[in-house]
Amino acid sequence: MMKEMKEEMQEGMKEEMQEGMKKEMQEGMKEEMQEGMKEEMQEGMKEEMQEGMKEEMIRGDTKGDTSGENCNKKKVLAIDAEKCIGCRACSSACPEGLIGLSEEGGRRNLKFPESCSLDCERCALTCPEEAITFVSEEGRSPAFSGSRTLALGLMACRKCSASFATERELERVRQAVSLKVPLRPGGDFWMELCPACRQESFREKEAGAILRERKIKGNL
């Protein structure tokens, strides 16, 4: 059923968009749109648009589903606080934006909703740590009734001091990386830098020789 609807929606939207586009074409379009549009139509749409469409679909789904089977059945998110590394994948996956995200005082806070009525489970599917599960309200155990907010410690970049990842994310990365290549002591200094500063230090290292050379030439 999902799939059929998806196709229908896509067809419909395409038509709508094409019509809209024509109008805009006549009125003179914005630069970005002109550039991007055709390709997007051919190659499948941009991420945001996909997101938007899915959102529509899900809403349509609950509205359209008159059997009441799905929309009435409330589900409860069960979060395994031990497993969650705070990567935000769930938050960006949730079509309703129900998973709140904030950073303050060296912590990343994830605020999960008590429940949601959507038939999607995208947050659970997307979670790299499988930290999210769904249980039906009846089967709700007291263990899950605790705080719905997780606060995870953030790491500050050693160079620019900006918080750039949670401690757990980095730990997870460190583990995975060390399975691939042995990390010698001192060989993992980059792990404590934010991606922008990693790029900068790489750049500086690369340019070191040429900078020295140009300075030697004197009046530069």
Binding site: K180, V181, A207
Partner: protein, 157 residues
């Protein structure tokens, strides 16, 4: 070793044509040029690592590496961004839930950034064929810079 885009910094003039070309071909630039101390410019893009660490933490195998070729399947990508934290060079960027990194412009003979470089500073090659060449040139240049220009040419008499 896999082929990649390398920069000869003694040639780079910091014009950012590579960024513009990449932006036009890929919607966003996967190469970035910055000027250091007003004396040199350095472009940085994906190093196309032989053992790409970015694939290491990928939970659903969206980023994988086989026979030295990095593959990315957007459908499997959870958008968790762990790959961006595993790249030692900071060249993988997560934008709108998709990983953006240099894929060497598939379908083009030469990546756009290399083709457009006015100074011929970007080189698309295997790293092995590269090192000696640049080092030799650099040594030659240093010698020239440190010595006064030798009388040359027609009027040697």
């Amino acid at each position: 070793m896999p082929e990649a885009v390398y920069a000869d910094l003694s040639r780079c003039i910091g014009c950012r044509a590579c960024e513009l070309a990449c932006e036009r071909e890929n919607k966003s630039s996967r190469i970035s040029v910055k000027v250091l101390s007003g004396l040199a410019a350095a472009p940085v893009s994906c190093r196309q690592c032989e053992i790409p660490l970015c694939t290491a933490p990928c939970p659903k195998g969206a980023l994988s590496c086989e026979n030295g070729k990095l593959e990315y399947e957007a459908e499997n990508c959870t958008g968790c961004g762990l790959c961006t934290l595993a790249c030692p060079f900071g060249t993988a960027v997560l934008r709108a839930g998709i990983i953006e990194r240099c894929n060497l412009c598939p379908g083009m003979e030469t990546p756009a950034c290399v083709a457009t470089c006015p100074a011929g500073a970007l080189i698309y090659t295997e790293p092995g064929s590269l090192g000696e060449n640049i080092r030799q040139r650099r040594a030659k240049r240093m010698n020239r810079a440190l010595e006064p220009p030798a009388p040359a040419g027609r009027r040697a008499e």
